[in-house]
């Protein structure tokens, strides 16, 4: 059995590891929460959208109250309908203060994929009561046909 001189400097400090471990955890949280913050950014919102259709047309209804109709941008490209727009946060005048702010503001974009063949010039849109309704007539080929038996 060898006799080794007791040397404190060679002993591992029990909390050394913990320190670096803690740093690692912090780093992990900083980065992932940072990403989450970006994702949850206050200037993005997702208005509710309903999609429905019958034999004649596809109807998209978007709840977007408090905009003007000029604030919407509607486009149809490769059977994808994209509606985007912006609701500006009301600016506070002198002497005004916020008591509660729950309503969303900022930019939004919603896209829906539609059956192919819809003619862009047949699409109509209407904004009333804070609901944007886009009507897209179905192309002839997609409409159901009654086939009589000979």
């Amino acid at each position: 059995m060898n006799l080794i001189r007791f040397n404190t400097s060679r002993l591992p400090e029990p909390f050394d590891h913990l320190g670096s471990f803690q740093r690692e955890i912090n780093r992990l949280f900083d980065s992932s929460l940072g990403a989450l913050r970006d994702f949850n950014s206050a200037d993005e919102w997702t208005p509710r959208l309903d999609l429905s259709h019958d034999d004649e047309k596809v109807v998209v209804a978007l709840d977007a109250p408090g905009l003007s109709k000029e604030a919407f941008d509607i486009s149809l490209e490769d059977s994808t309908l994209t509606i985007s727009g912006e609701r500006k946060q009301p600016e506070l005048a002198e002497g005004e203060s916020v008591v509660r702010r729950e309503r969303f503001s900022g930019r939004f974009t919603r896209s829906v994929t539609l059956p192919p063949g819809i003619e862009a010039d047949q699409v109509s849109a209407d904004y009333s009561g804070g609901v944007l309704t886009v009507s897209l007539p179905k192309p002839e080929v997609v409409k159901p046909r009654r086939i009589s038996i000979q």
Binding site: D50, S52, A61, E96, V98, E102, G130, V131
Partner: protein, 126 residues
């Protein structure tokens, strides 16, 4: 200072606090902004699809309730009808007889004037 406190303890604004699966009505607690100004409070609530005829604003015993109904959409849309509801406890400094309401582009705006005695006053030094 908690002048306009939410009365009902519903889980989430914008959500469906009292969902009744057996009926085709969607219950929504509208999201609101409240702003205090020198002479009044402005409450703005998102109630898309509501017409002004179907809005009821009631003030009773210090409570302000907002109720609005949205009809189910016609075919082909399967949008269910929506019942918007929210209740606030209002500070006594509000002059309840002068509350006004309007609906524009699916936003319900309520103006709650402060009573004369509650308004800030400039007092001149003599």
């Amino acid at each position: 200072m908690n002048t306009l406190t939410q009365k009902e303890n519903d889980p989430q604004p914008g959500g469906s606090p009292a969902k009744k699966p057996e009926s085709a009505v969607r219950y929504i607690q509208p999201r609101v902004d409240i702003c205090e100004r020198a002479d009044d409070f402005l409450i703005q609530a998102d109630v898309p699809g509501v017409r002004k005829e179907s809005v009821e604003v009631e003030f009773h015993a210090g409570e302000l309730s907002i109720e609005a109904h949205r009809e189910a959409a016609r075919a082909p849309s399967a949008r269910p009808s929506v019942q918007y509801r929210r209740v606030f406890t209002v500070d006594p400094m509000i002059d309840a007889s002068k509350i006004t309401a309007s609906v524009d582009h699916g936003v319900l705006s309520l103006t709650l004037p402060k009573a004369e005695s509650a308004k800030p006053r400039q007092i001149s030094v003599s």
